[in-house]
Amino acid sequence: MKSIQFFALTVLAGLAIAAPMRYARARNAASLQRAAAKPCGTVTVAAASDLTYAMNEIAGNFEKATGCTVRLSMGSSGNFLTQIENGAPFDVFFSADVAYPKKLEAEGLAAPGSTYVYAIGKIVLWTRNDSRVDVGKGFSALRDPAVRKIAIANPAHAPYGRAAEEALRHSGVYEALKGRLVLGENISQAAEFVESGNADAGILALSLVVSPAMKDKGRAWNIPENLYAPIEQGAVAVRAAANPQGARQFLDYIKLDATVALLERYGFALAGKKLARGKP
């Protein structure tokens, strides 16, 4: 017993010593890159998890075009909002909900006037290929008792979750399905729940299900856009950015036609072209 505790302590002590060293090395590497890269150094980007796949490609293109380095953090918009309000070192923030960048701007934590709606998100009903659920029938397919768990993002703080709940309510099936909902911490986790087969269906971001990682794994039904308020995606330059010039450059890059086309390919509606929205 003593030996195992000694062993555990040794391992822990080793980790405790090694971790800061690794961190220091990483920091060194980053600062070297910053010095070598022209003209804008390292841009640190926080992006909502519906952008997971699109943003990797955009960041890669941006790096090639400018010689800058992009450090990407993917996560839930609500989490990033809280972190930025508390001094997180991000230069640009891509939120799945334009309300968050606007809030940062109102609080004086974002560069004034830098909020930009870069895309409109869409939601789909999705199941795995091996599922018997016929998503083609729309939400009524979910009434089948064989559908035991339906994954959505948490409506309390995730924009895609809010849209999913709204669409279910507008279709009049929310009360019937409420007990079968499981909530992902963000839209990627909701997708993981369905993709791993633990949930039978999910209401996911179109941008995730058209990505190479999920494209061939399941079937999707486009949820009519009149069932939910448009999910306006907003980006903003963080006021306390370590690299304000890089932040501006990256935001400009998002507005280029090529990037807009890429976003469209990943299932986002074009920014600026608001979707026609009728009352259901």
């Binding site: 017993m1 003593k2 030996s3 195992i4 505790q5 000694f6 062993f7 555990a8 302590l9 391992v11 822990l12 839930s76 609500g78 989490n79 909002l81 809280t82 309000e85 035991r148 768990k149 994954a151 948490n154 309390a156 703080h157 909902l181 499981v182 909530l183 992902g184 911490e185 993981e192 729940f193 791993s196 087969g197 633990n198 949930a199």
Partner: protein, 224 residues
């Protein structure tokens, strides 16, 4: 404050502590007294959750025991559903995750008992089981209490595994730590703060009570 989440966390922690008392005693007994030469392998497995991040356990429960893998399908055919998104799933995950917090103090308590007393009991004709309950356990009760309290407290404070496999269902898998996380994400700092403060005070009270009533108990845990 979300009383439902608090009640759920307490319920989970009580179940975990109960199960770990039942499972932890025989494991600790075996770990302490076995002469098997490969015993250290079992000790390493028991201690694994101290080192592993909760994401590892969460990942294996979600994917390895998911319906796409053999083990998950076997589980499904036995119990009718897979582990994630259920109270049972949280229970399994928490028992595994708190195992060393129960076994190690209990085992340290056993080790501290004078071997001669146990052997005397045997030579006087008491069975191994009777010796266990009437000599060993009473003499090492501090270790058992510590193990149970630590696994209770550790379960109350559990977050990562629950976040990964819980699915955040109110009354089923939305524990108090998840509730605080949700409130913080939704920028409801007041609510988050109240619940967090309540949890902080509760944890302090539990530990203070243990230290106050059972001075030897925690020293067994910290013994090198």
């Amino acid at each position: 404050m979300n009383w439902q989440a608090i009640a759920l966390s307490l319920q989970l922690a009580v179940c975990v502590a109960g199960i770990l008392l039942a499972v932890g005693l025989p494991i600790a007994y075996w770990v302490t007294f076995s002469q098997w030469r490969w015993k250290f392998l079992v000790e390493a497995i028991v201690a694994l959750p101290l080192v592993l991040p909760p994401t590892v356990l969460g990942y294996y429960i979600l994917v390895g025991l998911g319906p796409r893998h053999f083990a998950g399908r076997v589980w499904q055919s036995w119990f009718g559903h897979t582990l994630p998104f259920t109270f049972g799933g949280l229970l399994v995950a928490s028992v595994l995750y708190s195992l060393p917090f129960a076994v190690q103090p209990i085992s340290a308590g056993f080790e501290a008992v004078d071997r001669r007393l146990i052997e005397a009991s045997w030579t006087l004709g008491a069975s191994r089981l009777a010796t266990f309950f009437r000599v060993l356990l009473p003499l090492s009760s501090a270790g058992a209490v510590t193990g149970i309290v630590l696994s209770f407290a550790h379960t109350i404070g559990e977050f990562g595994v629950v976040l990964m496999v819980g699915g955040n269902i109110p009354g089923v898998t939305r524990t108090v730590s998840i509730d605080i996380y949700d409130q913080a994400q939704a920028a409801n700092y007041d609510v988050a703060n109240r619940t967090a403060l309540a949890l902080l005070l509760f944890s302090f009270l539990v530990l203070a009570t243990i230290y106050g009533t059972n001075r030897r108990a925690l020293s067994l845990w910290r013994r090198p």
